[in-house]
């Protein structure tokens, strides 16, 4: 039984949701990570940051409640800030980010390597969007979690060494893909959970990095 693209994203987001704890202050990157809140258990409430200026961002408002002139998220889309939240300046936002006040950030990646270095902001000559807040986030957040598809059109994204320009060096703590969960540890990149749909050999074949299989490898669910 193979998963389609949508199921893969949902599977990854569901697993990533388990990394967040009640009360965590979290910044979620664009794309797949924004799906994570819908998979949080009912007793887990996280405080979401939108780095353009919200602590405690709510769900995207419907057209009737949207105020796109004054309340947007970091992608410029209508956002909300329910009671209990706060609007902040960019100085305060990045003080929170760089100052170690964000418990976790979940981001996508173009490449990650076995030393935890990350590339996710530029493909020279092809895509030069800029790093936005990503470099500060991965340097400042207490935990950096990469949630992404394991390969890009079959090509490994988890490498011995990133070949694209880096976002930051040795910054990633955990990588979650549809194949498994990998932790960046002093001894190297350790496969701690395996999606039962795949074998360790499958994961190795889709990974360029040296992969250490944890002695207590458990099924990913």
């Amino acid at each position: 039984m193979t998963m389609d693209k949508g199921q893969i994203k949902e599977f990854i987001a569901r697993r990533a949701a388990r990394e967040l704890h009640d009360g965590d202050f979290v910044n979620l990157g664009i794309g797949l990570p924004t799906m994570i809140p819908e998979f949080l258990p009912p007793d887990v409430h996280v405080i979401l940051e939108s780095e353009d200026g919200i602590v405690g961002a709510g769900p995207r408002p419907d057209a009737e409640h949207a105020d796109p002139r004054y309340v947007v998220d970091a992608g410029g889309q209508p956002a909300s800030c329910p009671p209990g939240g706060a609007y902040i300046s960019s100085v305060v936002s990045f003080g929170l980010i760089r100052g170690g006040h964000v418990d976790a950030t979940v981001l996508g990646a173009l490449q990650v390597d076995q030393e935890g270095s990350l590339a996710n902001w530029i493909i020279p000559g092809k895509m030069v969007p800029g790093m936005g807040g990503a470099m500060d986030l991965v340097v400042g957040a207490k935990r950096v979690i990469i949630a992404m598809e394991h390969t890009q059109k079959g090509e490994p994204k988890i490498l011995k060494r990133c070949t694209l320009p880096l976002t930051a060096v040795n910054c990633v703590d955990l990588i979650i893909t549809e194949m498994g969960v990998m932790a960046v540890r002093p001894e190297g990149l350790v496969l701690t959970e395996l999606n039962p749909q795949f074998t360790v050999a499958d994961v190795r074949a889709a990974t360029e990095a040296d992969l250490i299989v944890a002695a207590d490898l458990v099924p990913m669910a």
Binding site: D52, Y70, S89, M135, G140
Partner: protein, 217 residues
């Protein structure tokens, strides 16, 4: 204390070749009335310091579309394809700066600091050509201050003396840019009498604002 001026007068303050800062985040909280008037007048060879280049047709994107920028210092330009096109042809020089570094460089420029030390960018392209300073065993990049000739900020409510209150997420870069330019022009979505903003709700105090222009409510 700020002086209330007309849009035409504000546009004349921004001269060819100047460096301008424009607040806002994807045009939310941007001084879009003034910026669009500058774009229409066609003031050339500007250096723009802003978080992003907005989206096509919005706010500062008009400056790009009208080929008025020589240089852009920003953290993200990915939602404005025209920037990519002008970068590729060499018409527009773009310096990409991490968002947290951009805001701190502006803060340094406005707060009288000689720069900031940040761990952001160490080991990346951002560090190229920059000094690394080790403090208590930890490496930091020395990032230098940014200042502008003119800062264009925008407030939801501005009183006639120049005090500013920002609504929602529109505070963003406006608050810090008001410190970092020789001349600060505030666009007022709503211009009110002094007292219309309670003192404890003033975010940008009037001593930072030179001119006020009425924008669109």
């Amino acid at each position: 204390m700020a002086k209330i001026i007309g849009l035409d007068e504000a546009v004349e303050i921004v001269q060819e070749g100047m460096t301008i800062m424009v607040g806002g985040f994807m045009a939310c909280g941007g001084a879009n009335t003034i910026v669009e008037a500058i774009a229409a007048r066609g003031t050339k060879n500007l250096t723009l310091i802003a978080n992003d280049a907005a989206k096509p047709g919005m706010g500062i994107a008009r400056l790009v579309e009208n080929h008025l920028l020589r240089r852009l210092v920003a953290s993200h330009v990915g939602l404005n394809p025209e920037v990519g096109r002008q970068m590729a042809t060499g018409e527009l020089g773009v310096e990409l700066v991490p968002q947290g570094t951009l805001v701190e460089r502006i803060r340094a420029g406005g707060y009288g600091l000689g720069g900031v030390l940040t761990p952001t960018g160490i080991g990346t392209l951002v560090a190229e050509g920059k000094e690394i300073i080790t403090v208590d065993g930890k490496d930091f990049l020395l990032e230098k201050p940014l200042r502008a000739d003119v800062a264009l900020i925008c407030g939801h409510t501005v009183d006639r003396s120049g005090n500013v209150w920002y609504k929602g997420t529109s505070r963003n870069f406006n608050q810090v840019m008001a410190f970092a330019a020789d001349t600060v022009i505030a666009e007022a979505d709503h211009l009110v009498d002094v007292g219309g903003i309670a003192p404890e709700n003033v975010v940008t105090p009037n001593v930072l604002v030179d001119y006020i222009v009425e924008g669109r409510p």
